[in-house]
Symmetry: C2
Subunit: 319 residues, 2 copies
């Protein structure tokens, strides 16, 4: 009998979520471990296996599992390695696919987390049936997965789709990004970027705003700003306009590259609905060539945040 299930792993800087997925994209069971708790990669793989077995035994054991697909920061599809991931406890080059497949006894394929989300979106989400779209993940960082002609773009070295590290500001005042460069869109449209914008506005104006009530402004999220905007807070609206405008301007560059049918946005920032969508769409259409004006759809992911990554990662295991 063909093995009926695969494992999908969504490895984040904080949590690693593992799910058992069937061929129709149902997540039958899920479990998770804390990524940062394991400073040795072998301990991490062992812990993952122990947790996995608890949900695998009830569905019939490892002989029901065809393979593992994993989405992880800085994961290289070609080599199976995780390479120099800033937000993970393991430094240098980690042969993650090899370690996983040795431990679990089934093939393991990996890709970066944004690519995994894009695959989930293509198979089960807002991009179902689309052959050309760009997925932008707006979380701690800004990630991206690019699909052209129905296929994920990996590029020459497996690292294609680092759109978060294209530049939106080339001036002297450009923000420093976690990657070591200046002016990357990640430094503006990520959760950290939004917190920095809020901080700058609060420090440089005396405008009254609900955001002055946020306890730790360094940890402000787009959701805090959303709540304030919903109550009519002008500063909150200003933050969304600023963030959305920069992101929309940059999306226009991406449209000129691959002429996608749609751009799918995913992650924390999307919970702010029209407050962030309106300035994005406005700036996008103001910055594309006439042939693309009002032609490229911008949409929010319609998958649950946890599911998209697990489902997308699991899709790799069917290949």
């Amino acid at each position: 009998m063909d093995k009926p299930y695969v494992l999908g792993l969504d490895m984040g800087g904080t949590n690693s979520v593992l799910g058992i997925v069937d061929a129709r994209g149902h997540v039958l069971a899920r479990t998770s471990i804390k990524t940062q708790q394991y400073t040795d990669i072998n301990d991490y793989v062992n812990a993952l296996y122990e947790e996995a077995i608890k949900i695998i035994v009830p569905v019939g054991g490892m002989e029901m599992i065809r393979g593992i697909g994993a989405g992880a920061p800085n994961a290289n599809y070609y080599s199976g390695n995780i390479e120099n991931a800033a937000n993970l406890p393991w430094k240098g080059i980690v042969p993650f696919a090899k370690l996983m497949s040795e431990k679990f006894g089934v093939p393991c394929t990996i890709t970066n987390d944004a690519n995994a989300a894009a695959m989930g979106e293509m198979q089960y989400g807002a991009a179902r049936g689309m052959k050309n779209f760009i997925m932008i993940t707006l979380g701690t960082g800004v990630g991206s997965g690019i699909v052209i002609d129905g296929k994920m773009v990996y590029g020459h070295d497996g690292f294609a789709g680092e759109l978060g590290h294209t530049k939106i500001d080339r001036s002297d005042k450009a923000r420093l990004c976690g990657c070591g460069q200046r002016g990357c869109i990640e430094a503006y449209a990520s959760a950290n970027g939004v917190a920095r914008t809020a901080k700058e506005i609060l420090a440089t104006t005396t405008q009254p705003t609900l955001l002055r009530n946020v306890e730790d402004i360094d940890k402000i999220t787009s959701y805090d700003v959303f709540k304030a905007a919903e109550e009519g807070d002008e500063v909150a609206k200003q933050i969304f306009d600023y963030t959305g405008t920069l992101l929309g301007q940059k999306l226009a560059d991406f449209v000129a590259f691959s002429a996608p049918e749609a751009i799918v946005l995913f992650g924390g920032l999307t919970k702010s609905g029209h407050w962030i969508m309106d300035p994005i769409v406005k700036a996008l259409n103001e910055n594309v060539m006439p042939i693309w004006k009002n032609k490229v759809k911008v949409m929010f992911s319609d998958l649950k945040e946890a599911d998209a990554a697990v489902l997308g990662a699991s899709a790799l295991a069917w290949e």
Copy 2:
């Protein structure tokens, strides 16, 4: 017997060059007409046919011709139309592939001129054997052809690869581009862009320079600047540094998109050799993520300028 030849057409704003090409990429014969002389597209197609027949008869007549591949500004691979091309005499939407195949009695496939050049480069030029590269054409405008996984990127609508219209300057002082937008890299790294840079420097400084001898500064080319640089002219070097730096910064964005093995540069600006290459490579490597530093090749096309486009266009006809 299989028909042994195809026709390749390189339609430019000034000249339309037509060549007979065999399966090994030899241009057996070539001819050309002046594009601007025909304000009616039917007259243009008729004139092209009359010229073509003169070189086709000696190789055995139309029964030896398998099909036509054409590279033209704003040509759409999917629809076969040329749509709203600013530099051509025919406005609106022109069903060019249909008109050509009706007149010649063989199938005609079209793509934009930069894509055609990229196909020529992939089959017969500097990108032979590469599966991931980006071709940038630096001529009257800045065009691009993107190859991912061995395939030309057309996108959802057939217009992918308009990298000349991504933004390098988002400030108030950004230059107006021919496309109606501001700050496009085309307004800086094209022949016109170089002339504008020269003009600005000459108007705002009193530095002595050989370029003050150029008769019509609006028509200055990168080749004029090259000749001056070769004679040690500081202003000429400054123009190359400025142009190359902006272009290299923008290429870094493209690398983050598709992680190409190489970027192949083509067109007038490349004749300036190291004067333009050095600042491009420097700015590129200063603006990519650490994983790509000094990893992406930047190279000049090694096809003759006329041949690349004709050969590339002809490649479409074999498909």
